[in-house]
């Protein structure tokens, strides 16, 4: 019994923690704070506006990432007005960045994002809505297309009282749907500055309090995001071909 516990503890200590949505202006400062908080990887997200800005962001990331102990993940956030715009923007960015995040909230966007294999993470589908922004069909589709749902801690910082209780309730319902249909979900900070950043265990406490199994809750900040990054890098490096065949 004791030995089993010891191994479990060791596994936990070896975990790689990732925060894949940190849309800060000062990337260097955010990286420093993330290292202090024991993250193995951080994704300072860039909101896609035009090609020139994206190239500038990629250049900055390349310059920073050389001699750091932390994994810098190139993340691009897509904010679209309609599904067509979303697809258009994804087409322009997919080959250039490691992770594509789509900002949810609009139900049409939520549905379109869960139907698109190129999308990695659908962020806060419940954003500024009076419902969860997800139904059983979207959940099923997300599971089929391997789209992860991302819950953002920043939404809770921005709200209080009645509205915060609604947000928490929507997140709880979304998590229930995700668990029922086998959709993967993660928790991200969504910090706009370093004071919005939170440690991995603090992020994992959100699903834990909402009734998710403790080990699964820890996976939302470690195994799941790490897997997304690893698989995407393999795909971008040409190691995984269409149909999921991997060249070893």
């Amino acid at each position: 019994m004791f030995i089993r516990f010891k191994y479990k503890l060791k596994d936990r200590m070896d975990m790689n923690f990732y925060d894949l949505y940190v849309p800060v202006d000062d990337i260097e400062e955010a990286v420093e704070t993330a290292m202090k908080m024991n993250f193995s990887g951080i994704g300072p997200a860039h909101r896609y506006d035009n090609k020139k800005m994206l190239n500038k962001y990629l250049e900055e990331m390349d310059n920073l990432g050389g001699d750091l102990d932390i994994d810098l993940v190139r993340c691009c956030e897509i904010k679209a007005d309609n599904p067509r715009d979303m697809k258009n923007k994804i087409g322009k960015t997919r080959q250039k960045v490691d992770v594509i995040l789509v900002k949810g909230g609009n139900f049409d966007i939520n549905t379109a994002a869960t139907r698109d294999r190129r999308v990695d993470i659908l962020l806060h589908p419940e954003h500024r809505r009076k419902d969860t922004g997800m139904d059983h069909k979207t959940a099923k589709m997300a599971a089929e297309k391997n789209v992860t749902i991302g819950f953002v801690m920043h939404d809770l910082h921005q709200t209080y009282g009645k509205v915060r209780s609604h947000v928490i309730n929507h997140i709880r319902k979304s998590i229930e749907l995700c668990e029922k249909y086998g959709v993967q979900f993660i928790v991200v900070s969504g910090a706009r500055d370093i004071y919005g950043m939170r440690g991995p265990r603090e992020l994992a406490s959100l699903p834990k309090v909402l009734g998710v199994d403790p080990s699964k809750a820890m996976d939302t900040v470690s195994t799941v995001p790490h897997k997304i990054v690893k698989n995407n890098r393999k795909k971008l490096g040409g190691r995984i071909k269409k149909g999921g065949v991997e060249r070893l």
Binding site: T33, E202, L206, V209, P214
Partner: protein, 125 residues
């Protein structure tokens, strides 16, 4: 003044100490910290559940210089306290981020592990 005796260890409730550190530019007043923590935990879980959490901020363990402190809570509700801590983004007038350093079963070991304090009970010469 007479006091009730300390309960035997089998009857005592199990507790945990969460060591935390505050990231901020300004100095933090302990009174403001208490208010922020209590209001966050009460807003999030309500009065009944907060009673169950058995939350207590240890005054003697607050280190003003390093902005580190200890929170005592029930061993079953560590993640609730962590979430309440994570939802604080302002103490008094200053913008803050609170991060937990770790969890311990006793105050002595928490101070030793996370505050770097040395135990001088076996100090020779």
């Amino acid at each position: 003044m007479s006091r009730p005796e300390t309960l035997p260890s089998s009857l005592r409730k199990k507790k945990r100490y969460i060591a935390f550190e505050i990231l901020s530019e300004e100095d933090i007043d302990f009174g403001d910290l208490i208010n922020a923590l209590w209001s966050s935990i009460l807003d999030l879980f309500g009065e009944v559940n907060t009673g169950e959490i058995d939350f207590w901020l240890v005054k003697d363990a607050w280190r003003k210089k390093t902005k580190r402190g200890l929170i005592k809570c029930s061993h079953r509700h560590v993640s609730e306290v962590r979430l309440a801590m994570a939802l604080i983004n302002r103490i008094g007038e200053s913008e803050v981020s609170i991060r937990s350093l770790g969890v311990s079963g006793t105050m002595k070991s928490a101070k030793k592990k996370y505050f770097g304090e040395k135990d001088l009970s076996n100090f020779e010469n």
